[in-house]
């Protein structure tokens, strides 16, 4: 895959190669680039003597990475996600191109799937994206397209945005718009026979600013408008007599549900539109020898779900070629307004189902605590070790489901190994 990424980068770089210091770039000569700032002065001088001519001819930066992520949990879900990405950027022209491709291999036999007598199943998802940006000076534009495909789900999307720098790039404002069209099918049934469509429009507005010489901050507001039936055509909901539903215990076993549910087992039904809003704030601070990153997201949607997600990473430079640091994440949410641990139905002679019903545990009340360790080994040349890097991140996750049938908790691990190269 790395070879494929390298080939893609090579092809794309031919489109972006351009003299670094042309007449158009006069005003940029005195601005220290990110690349220049992270190199000690003596190394820069050495580079300029040895490779100065080459750098004057080509300001293109080509990067590629290969990542493999693995997830496994106590609910018998295992996911393996290999991915590759590549980018080409001409720092003086302000143009960049980036692409990525990943495969998800999911193997699962979750409790609620077991309860419908399904066997363990395996599914493969492919997803790709391609995006470009052009920002020669303070004003820039960008566009991206993406796709995702699995046997019972197909998604295409695209979007674009603009950005404007202010006050010598102390402030940057961004505005973006996205659209995607999802087609939901049923495993084993062609989409031409059964499918539902979900249209998704999104608007993003954001600001990023330099707080002080050591701190960067950003804030973003995302609004998403979804229309269509997102109900899973394979998810059946157990129904109970009202008196039984009121007594359903937390984490009721499959045997208890089987013994006490009504014979009817309707499919999940969700509202046909959803409005989402998320406010995200990010802070990055560089200490002497370490970097602290804080993220906070507050979320609300029209289904009544409130959530907060906090994420902290602290990276310590052990040596010039090695860093390590802890990662912590905490997510908490309430339930959507139509959530019930056990849904009640009126009995004969009048069969009356609740209008909306779901068995998706991620729509119920829960909290998740994640903690782990990340490290990076930089194996590039002496002047810029970080041009080649190997990263490893290992996290443990614990989720407590506060009002669910079948399960009350889940533990899992995520392991990510990344190889990055600047070619």
């Amino acid at each position: 895959m790395l070879a494929a990424a390298g080939l893609a980068v090579g092809l794309a770089s031919s489109l972006f190669a351009r003299p670094a210091y042309g007449a158009d770039d006069e005003g940029k000569k005195d601005e220290p680039s990110a690349d220049a700032e992270k190199k000690p002065a003596d190394e820069k001088n050495s580079d300029e003597k040895g490779n100065g001519k080459k750098r004057l001819e080509d300001a293109t930066r080509k990067r590629a990475s290969v990542e493999t992520a693995g997830y496994i949990d106590t609910n018998n879900v295992a996911v393996l996600t290999p991915s590759v990405s590549a980018s080409v950027e001409n720092v003086t022209a302000g143009a960049s191109l980036k692409g990525s491709y990943l495969v998800d291999v999911v193997s699962a036999a979750s409790p609620d799937i077991v309860s419908t007598a399904s066997r363990r199943w395996q599914e493969v998802r492919q997803a790709g994206s391609l995006g470009g940006a052009y920002k020669p000076h303070e004003f820039g534009v960008n566009a991206a397209a993406s796709f995702s495909n699995e046997p019972d789900y197909l998604s295409y999307g695209g979007g674009g945005g603009i950005s404007q720098d202010f006050d010598e790039k102390n402030w940057t404002l961004t505005l973006g718009f996205g659209y995607s069209k999802d087609t939901i099918g049923r495993h084993g049934t062609p989409l031409s026979v059964f499918s539902r469509e979900v249209n998704r429009e999104s608007i993003q507005g954001g600001a990023a600013w330099v707080v002080n010489p050591s701190t960067l901050a950003s804030a973003a507001l995302d609004l998403v408008f979804e229309n269509g039936d997102q109900s899973k055509p394979y998810r059946y909901i157990p129904m109970f007599a009202p008196s039984v539903a009121a007594q359903a215990p937390l984490g009721a076993s499959i045997d208890w549900v089987t013994a006490n549910r009504q014979p009817e087992r309707p499919l999940e039904q969700l509202p046909l539109s959803r409005r989402r809003a998320a406010l995200s704030i990010r802070l990055a601070h560089r200490f002497d020898g370490s970097t602290l990153k804080l993220d906070e997201r507050a979320y609300y949607d029209s289904w009544g779900l409130f959530a907060s997600t906090s994420d902290v990473r602290w990276i310590f430079d052990v040596t010039r070629r090695f860093n390590i640091g802890p990662h912590a994440r905490f997510h908490v949410q309430n339930a959507v307004s139509f959530w019930q641990r056990a849904y009640a139905e009126a009995t004969a002679p009048r069969w009356n189902l609740p209008e909306f019903r779901t068995g998706d545990r991620e729509m119920g009340p829960l909290w998740t605590a994640t903690g782990g360790l990340g490290m990076a080994l930089f194996v590039g040349g002496a002047s810029e070790p970080s041009t080649w890097a190997v990263r490893l991140q290992v996290d443990g996750m614990y989720t407590s489901f506060l009002d669910d049938l079948y399960v009350t908790q889940r533990s899992g691990t995520i392991t990510t190994l990344v190889l990055e190269a600047e070619l």
């Binding site: 991915s83 718009f177 659209y179 995607s180 330099v210 560089r286 949410q333 996750m397």
Partner: protein
Amino acid sequence: MKTLSLTILVALLSAACSHVAPYERGKLAHPSMTSELQGAGEGHVYAVHEGATGGGSVAESGCGCN
């Protein structure tokens, strides 16, 4: 959670108006300040396991992780 959010917000607002010249941004250019530390696979796991999402134009798909 609320305390953490409030602390971050106050810290940002109290220092948001200072001007930092380009030649003062050496620390900000450190690779760890600008790189995205969350990989594609890790991000997808969070997206599937958390009812909240930041939205965006990136294609979303069935989680397959019921």
